[in-house]
Point group: C2
Chain length 209, copies 2
C-alpha cells in the first residue's frame, strides 16, 4: 500500500519571529512512518517542524504552516491508499502575518485568529477508496467530540487522546472505527500504537476491496 502520514505541529506566524503552535513532537507520525515502511509499504511523510531524524526508506517532505501542509496533502492524496493524520495541525492562525517583528513598544496587542483550511475534512470529502485515520486531542466531552469529528470528516477510524499525550513517548488512548464501538487500549507506547494503526489500515483496505 501507499501511505500518506502527517506528523508534528504546524507553526502559524504572527510576524517574522512569533508564531502560534503546539507541543507536538512528531513521535507518533514518525513511528507510523517507520512501522509502515517495516511492513513493506511505500510511505510519504509530511512533517511539520520537529527535531526528529527522517526515517530511511521514506519519502519525507517538510512544511511549516497549516496552509503548506494542506497544499502538500492535497497533492499527495490521489496517489495514496491510506492516510494517517497524526499531525497536530493548528486550527487557528493569525489573520495577518506582519512582515517585520512587531515592536513590543506597542503595549497590549489584539490579534485576530482565523481557521486555516481543514485538511482532514477536505480529504474526507475527496476520498474514494482511501482509508482515512485521524486523531483527536480532547480534554472535554472527549468521546462525543471525537465521534463528531469521525462522522463530520468522513474518517474510517479516529484515535482519541488527551493533551498529556502531546510530546510524550506513550499515551492513554482509545480507538473508534466507523460503525463500531470504542476500543480503549490503555496507556501504550506510541511505537506500539503505530504498528496497530498500520495493521488496522491494512485490514480496512483489504475489507474494502
Amino acid at each position: 500500500m501507499r501511505f500518506l502520514i502527517t506528523a508534528g505541529p504546524t507553526r502559524e506566524y504572527l510576524d517574522s519571529v512569533r508564531y502560534l503552535s503546539n507541543g507536538s513532537s512528531g513521535k507518533m507520525g514518525y513511528a507510523c512512518a517507520k512501522a509502515a515502511r517495516d511492513r513493506g509499504h511505500q510511505v510519504t511523510l509530511l512533517s511539520g517542524p520537529v527535531e526528529l531524524e527522517k526515517p530511511a526508506g521514506v519519502k519525507a517532505m517538510d512544511v511549516i504552516s497549516a496552509e503548506e501542509m494542506h497544499r502538500a496533502a492535497m497533492r499527495e492524496f490521489s496517489r495514496c491508499d491510506a492516510v494517517i493524520m497524526t499531525a497536530a495541525v493548528c486550527d487557528y492562525r493569525p489573520a495577518v502575518r506582519s512582515r517585520c517583528k512587531i515592536s513590543k513598544q506597542k503595549g497590549n496587542l489584539h490579534i485576530h485568529l482565523i481557521p486555516p483550511p481543514d485538511i482532514l475534512a477536505e480529504l474526507g470529502r475527496r476520498k474514494k477508496r482511501q482509508i482515512l485515520i485521524g486523531f483527536a486531542v480532547q480534554d472535554r466531552s472527549a468521546r462525543k467530540n471525537a465521534e463528531r469529528k469521525l462522522r463530520s470528516k468522513n474518517l474510517d477510524a479516529i484515535v482519541l487522546n488527551s493533551p498529556a499525550a502531546i510530546g510524550a513517548d506513550r499515551s492513554e488512548i482509545e480507538i473508534l472505527q466507523s460503525g463500531k464501538r470504542w476500543e480503549p487500549l490503555g496507556t501504550i507506547p506510541k511505537r506500539s500504537l503505530a504498528k496497530r494503526l498500520i495493521r488496522l489500515a491494512e485490514q480496512l483496505s483489504a475489507s474494502r476491496k
Copy 2:
C-alpha cells in the same frame, strides 16, 4: 565566576494545547553554558523547552513560560557575577489561559496579548556588580533599537542579530558594549560567539573590580 545563562524560547499558552512561541533552539545559550564551564566557571543554565541535551557539569533548570523564567532568574540573580540572556523570551502572552482546549467550532477568535514581566529590564534595575549581556533580534532599524535596549535595560553589552539567526548554527552578528562603538563580527558559528561572550564577561568583570 558564577554565570547565569538563559536559553531557548518560552511558551505562552492560550489553552491546554496551543501556545505562542518562537523558533529559538537554545543552541546559543547551551553553547555559552559549555564555554563558561570549559573556562572553569560555575554555570546555572535556565532553559526554555528545547531538544538539546543538558551539558554535564552545569546546574540546569527547566522552565516553560516567561513568568517562570522571570521567577527563576530573579531567584538566581543575586548569587551570580554575570548574566548572558540568550533566551528568546516571549514578550507577549495571552492575557487569559483557558484551562481546556478552545473548541474550533467557535470560528474566528480574538485574543488579547499582554507583555509578561521584562526580565532583562528588571535585572538591569537590580544589578550591582553583575555583568549583564543581552541579545536583540531585529529586522528594522536594527542598531537603533538595539542601542535603545542596551541603554534602557542598563546592559553592559548587547548582541544584535536578525530573525534568520533563530534556530541556525551560525549567524551574522554585531556586538555593542556600553560606551563603545558597534563591533561587526560577520557570520560566525554560535560556538565561537559563545567563547567570545564568556571572555567579554570575564574582561568586563575584571575591569569593574
